[in-house]
């Protein structure tokens, strides 16, 4: 299907349309389910009333102050993780190369722990500074006549392993109360988000989305090998630097809202590629999958009584089997 406006024409595959329709439907139903369930179950009409300012004070507080901000934060953070994951995986031509490969997550964990050990607070700024510094250092160290994907992965692994050891060490230096608090933060949680978080993540996404959509075009050519991409007129190194910077910024946003949720960035890209098909990078589909996985995980986390489990536990428990299934299917089809 080709969409023609006055001076642009856009090729849209029927499959992509169907996929986005199905994903949107899924997202919508999950959103409604998530808002309505909890300690205080609410019917759909009550929710609409609460949003429209016609419900009792309690119901309004539950919907507007607790559930909606948390759910919208989850969706936004998941989308950011999904986008960043797909960008890195396409750029580095490796399904394993999610942003944590270049050390962002390890840097963020180390930064958060260092902030706790040194100042007793400031987890979030510590995590952001740690993650961004690590990503910058890894990119700079991997730069040698341009940014080569394989070198970026290797340097990233080196930095990650060192930082993980450092984080383990800091964990052993904490007192036991702080340690158990940090264990929760380190896996990523969406407990008690407010509208400030929602504004942060959605504002950031709105700013980055045009850039990501534009990057989709060079990314689809970047998936081929370096020689072909260069002969198609791509300036590889500046492009890779742009993608890395954008991806890292997205991850930083998402981490600052939801903590380092494992697996979301890792699985969104491969699932999206698989359902969209055609070997395209599928950034938008990946963002939607990321949002779906995160929201599902957080909804599950909310549905567990007594212990407040962090959402990250469930993103991992959903993500890992999905990834394994994906591996099995792809191997069977011989596409890997």
């Amino acid at each position: 299907m080709i969409l023609r406006l006055s001076f642009v024409s856009l090729q849209i595959s029927r499959r992509a349309l169907i996929v986005s329709a199905v994903l949107s439907l899924l997202m919508l139903s999950l959103l409604m389910l998530s808002v309505s369930m909890g300690y205080y179950p609410l019917s759909l009409t009550r929710i609409i009333a609460a949003i429209g300012d016609h419900a009792s004070e309690v119901e309004q507080m539950i919907v507007m102050d607790h559930r909606l901000p948390r759910i919208l934060s989850a969706v936004g953070a998941g989308a950011a993780f999904g986008l960043a994951g797909a960008m890195f995986q396409t750029m580095l031509r490796n399904p394993l190369a999610s942003p944590d490969v270049i050390g962002f997550n390890a840097g963020a964990a180390f930064g958060a722990l260092a902030a706790i050990v040194m100042t007793g607070a400031n987890i979030l700024p510590g995590a952001l500074i740690g993650g961004l510094l690590t990503a910058a250092a890894v990119t700079a160290l991997a730069w040698h006549n341009g940014l080569h994907p394989y070198r970026l992965i290797l340097v990233g692994i080196g930095a990650s392993l060192t930082l993980v050891a450092g984080a383990d060490l800091l964990m052993s230096r904490l007192d036991s109360m702080t340690a158990s608090e940090m264990a929760k933060w380190l896996i990523g949680t969406l407990n008690s988000r407010d509208w400030g978080d929602v504004r942060l993540i959605w504002g950031g996404l709105a700013l980055m989305l045009p850039l990501c959509l534009w990057l989709q075009f060079p990314l689809s050519r970047l998936a081929m090998d370096d020689d072909i991409s260069t002969s198609l007129g791509l300036a590889l190194s500046p492009l890779r630097l742009t993608i890395t910077t954008t991806g890292v910024a997205l991850v930083a946003l998402a981490v600052s809202v939801a903590g380092p949720l494992p697996f979301v960035a890792f699985v969104s890209g491969p699932i999206a590629r698989r359902i969209v098909g055609g070997g395209k990078p599928a950034l938008l589909a990946s963002a939607m999958i990321g949002a779906l996985v995160t929201l599902l995980a957080d909804t599950l986390a909310r549905s567990v009584p007594i212990v407040q489990l962090p959402a990250g536990v469930f993103t991992a428990l959903i993500g890992a089997p999905v990834l394994m299934w994906l591996l099995l299917v792809q191997f069977r089809k011989g596409t890997l």
């Binding site: 399904p95 394993l96 160290l141 991997a142 040698h144 080569h148 394989y150 070198r151 992965i153 290797l154 340097v155 692994i157 080196g158 930095a159 392993l161 060192t162 930082l163 993980v164 050891a165 450092g166 383990d168 060490l169 964990m171 052993s172 036991s176 340690a179 158990s180 264990a183 929760k184 380190l186 896996i187 494992p262 697996f263 890792f266 212990v307 489990l309 962090p310 990250g312 536990v313 991992a316 428990l317 993500g319 890992a320 089997p321 990834l323 394994m324 591996l327 099995l328 191997f331 890997l336």
Partner: protein, 347 residues
């Protein structure tokens, strides 16, 4: 990896070790190992003289405090470091040779994550908190995880890329399970966060004796595997035409990797990096011949591990930094340096 790669090619007759630079370098590395071992016996919180070390080794006086420290603490610690370093180095070389992937690391087989989950489960459900009781659960967890990786990775007709991917997926799943357990159980977190640093502080001869058969089996398989790997390195089709049963060879090699790494994790906790970095260092002197690679990986691995253990005793690191942390601190920058120095194609 270096300019005299040509002279290290298999065309050099390895039957005459006297004229082979690889033999000379190997002897030098063993010499280095012995010197480091001596330093490791001598230095620590309680400095001892060389005469005491000699006496402790040859004519042990059970009443002399210096000799007790050497015999009861430093000697098992040294033996543990040598065994762990050598097995991680050999396992890394086996894995990188088998998967023909320079990034392959025994940790990627799910061994570390499996062992960690085993330990966490043991603390949570059996109430064990003494690291000495972790040996069997760690070994069991490592076995389960790597079996899962092997099955997901395609069993007999394992494809290298598939193995690595399956390993990453299984590791991540096991890690997530342990983290969940750690959030639920405070007691598990309290023990786990010290165990996970990895080190030889608590290693004694009883532990080493329990695990020695595993190490021995692993090393013996590795020696035989080296010959098969030389053929496998040429590609699976070529290996097949040379009469290698690729599937069963990979199964046996995989088993050796699991045994070596599982025993190491059981003894000293998860130690990152040695398995990844040592084969790269070994290739620098050993060239492509896997038989030499095994020898060099064992000696370089042991050297790296003793150095990490020794460096952790420096006052700079508070006198007792775990070897697992030290090896990561040395290994990370070393990997980055290797990548930058050699360029990508060589790694």
């Amino acid at each position: 990896m270096d300019t005299d790669m040509g002279s290290n090619s298999p065309s050099v007759p390895s039957e005459r070790p006297g004229t082979d630079p690889r033999g000379l370098w190997f002897c030098l590395s063993v010499l280095g190992l012995v010197i480091l071992a001596g330093l490791s016996l001598r230095f620590g919180l309680r400095p001892t003289g060389w005469d005491q070390i000699l006496a402790a080794l040859t004519d042990y006086d059970r009443m002399n405090p210096d000799q007790i420290v050497i015999r009861a603490i430093r000697l098992p610690r040294l033996a543990g470091a040598i065994l762990a370093g050598a097995s991680l180095g050999v396992a890394g070389a086996l894995m990188q040779g088998m998967t023909r992937n320079p990034l392959a690391d025994p940790g990627l087989f799910g061994v570390n994550a499996g062992a960690a989950l085993g330990v966490v489960v043991c603390i949570m459900f059996l109430g064990q908190t003494d690291p000495a009781s972790f040996i069997w659960v760690a070994l069991g967890g490592a076995l389960v995880a790597s079996l899962l990786v092997f099955l997901l990775g395609g069993g007999g007709q394992a494809n290298p890329a598939r193995l690595v991917l399956a390993g990453a997926a299984v590791s991540a799943l096991f890690l997530a399970l342990s983290r969940t357990a750690l959030i639920v159980s405070h007691q598990a977190l309290e023990v786990y966060r010290f165990w996970v640093l990895g080190g030889f502080n608590g290693v004694d001869f009883a532990t080493i004796n329990t695990l020695l058969p595993f190490f021995a089996v692993g090393f013996v398989i590795a020696i035989f595997a080296a010959i098969t790997l030389n053929a496998l390195m040429l590609g699976e089709d070529t290996a097949r035409s040379l009469g290698v049963r690729v599937g069963s060879a990979q199964l046996v090699i995989g088993l050796a990797i699991v045994i070596l790494c599982g025993a190491t994790v059981a003894m000293a906790g998860p130690i990152a990096f040695v398995g990844l970095i040592v084969p790269h260092l070994a290739r620098w002197r050993a060239g492509p011949d896997m038989r030499w690679m095994m020898l060099y990986s064992a000696s370089f691995g042991a050297i790296l591990m003793i150095s990490a253990d020794l460096a952790g005793r420096l006052p700079l690191f508070g006198g007792n930094m775990q070897a697992g942390v030290m090896s990561a601190m040395i290994g990370g920058p070393a990997l980055i340096w290797l990548v930058r120095r050699n360029g990508v194609s060589k790694l």
